[in-house]
């Protein structure tokens, strides 16, 4: 039974992991994108449209999944580009732009969902996302824990690992960190700050967008539910929780998913639960994140701080 919960949590954690990996990439470039919830909603819309079209065109598992991911990335990436244009080129306030994108994106998802209908509309294409990529898996704990997921879950972990390696080991990653810490110094060192910022805004948004699609097509098996933006805020929280490291984010997303599923899906089977207790347990991920935030500011260690230039627009001519 515990294995079942854990495997559910791993499946669910992919949503957080996409969102937080994407947001980490954006925050590393010095941009606090509060539009991630809206961008994930956009990804959900795009992913559903892409997967549905590919499915109706008679493409197989690979085509459906591929076009789902492609469209999710395109839709979300477009919003990332919009965010980039507003905050990088037009130097608008990042919080204001982000909140607008969240309002807009959540509105788009709900509006679109109300038109296409909600329950089980994408059930058929979503089959390709939910069935394990290893085909039939056994009932033993190993296969249940490691082999029973659809392609998106593995992709999330791969992306997180790749991103964390890029951050740590590659020249690009180090330059990106420099841009987020001190853009003026990075600029003086010959790093193309504007290019780095744009690429990370678009790429981060595109990755986060897959998370939105992952919720609709993988976790809820093709039914549109309107909690994608809520999950998006948790993904933003997870970035802090993981101290801007996607590697820790893999573990963090698992913990978040576990805590998220705990009150509704797991505890009721063992102890009698009422809505009040479950509401209290739901506080845990947020409270823990707030605590992490306070603790890292209390110890004030350089390695665990947010990027120094986070939220500060860069204008080369400024002094």
């Amino acid at each position: 039974m515990f294995i079942k919960l854990l495997s559910d949590a791993i499946g669910f954690s992919a949503i957080f992991l996409y969102g937080s990996t994407g947001e980490t990439i954006i925050e590393k470039s010095g941009h606090l994108n509060l539009g991630i919830p809206g961008i994930m909603c956009f990804g959900a819309v795009g992913g559903c449209i892409g997967a549905d079209m590919a499915y109706k065109a008679g493409m197989g598992a690979f085509g459906t999944v591929f076009f789902g991911i492609l469209f999710a990335m395109l839709f979300a990436g477009a919003m990332g580009l919009l965010y980039g244009i507003f905050t990088i080129s037009l130097r608008c306030n990042q919080n204001v732009t982000g909140l607008t994108i969240t309002t807009f994106g959540a509105g788009i998802l709900n509006f679109w969902g109300a038109i296409v209908g909600s329950i089980g509309v994408f059930a058929k294409p979503s089959l390709y996302f939910t069935t394990s990529i290893f085909g039939e898996v056994g009932n033993d704990w190993f296969s249940q824990l490691f082999l029973s997921y659809g392609p998106l879950v593995y992709l999330a972990i791969i992306i997180a690992i790749v991103v964390s390696i890029v951050f740590k080991k590659s020249r690009t990653g180090l330059s990106l960190t420099a841009v987020g810490e001190n853009p003026a110094a990075a600029d003086a060192a010959g790093i193309n700050v504007i290019k780095y910022k744009y690429v990370s805004c678009v790429l981060g948004a595109a990755i986060a967008g897959i998370g939105g699609m992952c919720y609709v097509l993988d976790y809820s098996a093709g039914s549109l539910e309107y909690i994608v933006d809520q999950l998006g805020w948790l993904a933003v929280a997870l970035v802090i929780f993981s101290l801007w490291r996607p590697g820790i984010g893999i573990l963090g997303s698992l913990i978040f998913a576990f805590l998220y599923l705990l009150p509704d899906q797991f505890l009721p089977k063992y102890v009698s639960m009422n809505a009040a207790t479950s509401a209290i347990i739901k506080i845990i991920p947020y409270a823990v994140t707030a605590l992490v935030l306070i603790i890292i500011s209390f110890f004030n260690k350089r390695e665990t701080q947010p990027p120094t230039a986070l939220g500060v627009p860069y204008f080369r001519e400024d002094r």
């Binding site: 037009l90 607008t100 809505a275 935030l293």
Partner: protein, 443 residues
């Protein structure tokens, strides 16, 4: 004269040193009109696509036109007296939220926790009403619910302020988390109380101890007028507080330049905490008005319903000026209500989400226009023209000078000296010209 190898970008930006108020407002009004038209065009396209879908499903559809759109839009916003009062009421509520967060933003304290602070205020009011209604007198219930609402709101606003003041904790993220903790706490309260009354929902409709409607029964604004008056008073107080009080000045100094604040002896920590207490008080009042007067219920979806975030946007777009905020929040509510009116007549349109999409479009355009208010684009061709003009004058002056010198030197028999003297002259005159271009690029 100019080194042609230097890559000159197509245009570059300069920050406007002074903002021309007329031009700024013309731009903003233009953005508003464009956003309304854009909303209309997008809606027409969506309705057309939706109608095609409905026809293919064999349903009958009415033809739709831009005239119909604006008809529905204005009916939604100004249709009946009650609707108009509702419009002003919603404006007042959004204005109150925007006012609450304004001092924080002016101080560059990014409080995006308005949502949670208002919800906690609402929770305070709900606790008082739930446990006192009917048992105590109406007046005492109302007073206790105001006090509890303000206390809850203040606690929720002051926690991030304390951590910011003490350890410089990132307030954007902390207030964001506290929003969700507030939602969970409210859920806890609702579910632990609602189990008892078997409905699963809290409902205080017309309970004794809530704020009653005011005025005769046929007065359309009887449930709204009180809140509009309260918000008008608060707006005036905040406008005066921000502009004329010492506190207001300290807030703007802390926001503009923390170092200045430090060296002139302003206690930054105290200012942060004091300002957030003020914000909490206003959020608490807002929560009280929403729970005890407007909706007379408490739930996590629609009681606050994203107003905390919209308030942030309004405050920023109005440049933290309370008077402009009245206008901006009115425009936002106008678009929200009008869009809801449009959505009402369309099959499959969800009014809430449709109006938030339209509001989003409006915000995007207004935000973008702020760029053109604050920055100036200078195109390559403009600079080249200016440089050529400038160099032309220099050349002219130089030739004149050279001619004068030449005639003087003619008397001298040594021609080589003439070249040696003229050469540094060219360098000297050339350098201010190239300095000038560099200075222009730097601007």
């Amino acid at each position: 004269m100019i080194n042609n190898k230097i890559h000159e970008p197509l245009f570059h930006l300069t920050k406007r040193t002074s903002v021309n108020a007329k031009r700024a407002w013309a731009l903003r009004c233009g953005a508003f009109i464009v956003s309304i038209l854009l909303c209309a065009i997008i809606t027409l396209i969506i309705v057309e696509l939706n109608n095609q879908r409905l026809v293919s499903e064999g349903k009958a559809v009415d033809p739709y036109s831009i005239g119909q759109y604006f008809d529905d839009f204005f009916t939604g916003a100004f249709g009946t007296p009650k609707v108009v009062w509702g419009l002003f009421h919603e404006t007042a509520i959004l204005l109150l939220v925007a006012l609450a967060v304004t001092p924080c933003f002016k101080m560059k304290f990014w409080n995006i926790g308005g949502e949670g602070q208002i919800l906690m205020g609402g929770l305070g009011a709900a606790v008082a009403i739930q446990f006192m209604s009917g048992k105590a007198s109406n007046a005492s219930t109302i007073i206790v619910s105001i006090i509890l609402a303000i206390a809850f709101g203040v606690v929720w606003a002051v926690i991030p302020a304390l951590f910011k003041a003490k350890w410089n904790t990132n307030e954007t993220l902390l207030t964001l988390m506290m929003n969700y903790i507030a939602i969970c706490l409210v859920d806890f309260f609702i579910s632990s109380v609602a189990v008892r009354n078997q409905t699963g929902k809290l409902n205080f409709l017309n309970w004794p101890g809530t704020v009653p409607p005011i005025g005769p029964a046929d007065f359309a604004g009887r449930t709204y007028i009180l809140k509009i008056v309260i918000v008008a008073v608060i707006t005036t107080i905040i406008a005066i507080y921000m502009k004329y009080s010492k506190h207001g000045y300290e807030i703007s100094v802390v926001g503009e330049s923390p170092n200045t604040a430090k060296y002139v002896g302003i206690n930054t920590k105290a200012v942060i905490i004091r300002t957030l207490v003020l914000c909490g008080v206003m959020c608490g009042i807002c929560g009280f008005l929403l729970v005890s007067a407007t909706s007379q219920t408490l739930n996590t979806e629609s009681t606050v319903g994203g107003r905390g975030f919209v308030g942030v946007l309004i405050s920023w777009l109005a440049q933290f000026n309370p008077i402009f905020m009245v206008l901006v929040s009115f425009l936002v509510v106008f678009i929200q209500k009008g869009s809801a009116g449009v959505a009402l007549w369309q099959d499959g349109f969800n009014a809430t989400s449709y109006s938030s999409v339209m509001t989003g479009i409006f915000f995007f355009l207004i935000i973008a226009v702020e760029f053109f208010v604050n920055y100036k684009l200078i195109f390559r061709s403009d600079i080249q023209a200016k440089i050529d003009n400038f160099n032309g004058k220099i050349k002219f002056a130089f030739t004149k000078k050279k001619n004068a010198e030449g005639s003087a030197i003619l008397q001298d028999t040594n021609g080589e000296e003439q070249v040696e003297e003229a050469q540094p002259q060219i360098v000297e005159i050339e350098s201010p010209a190239s300095d000038e271009t560099e200075a222009k690029e730097e601007e």
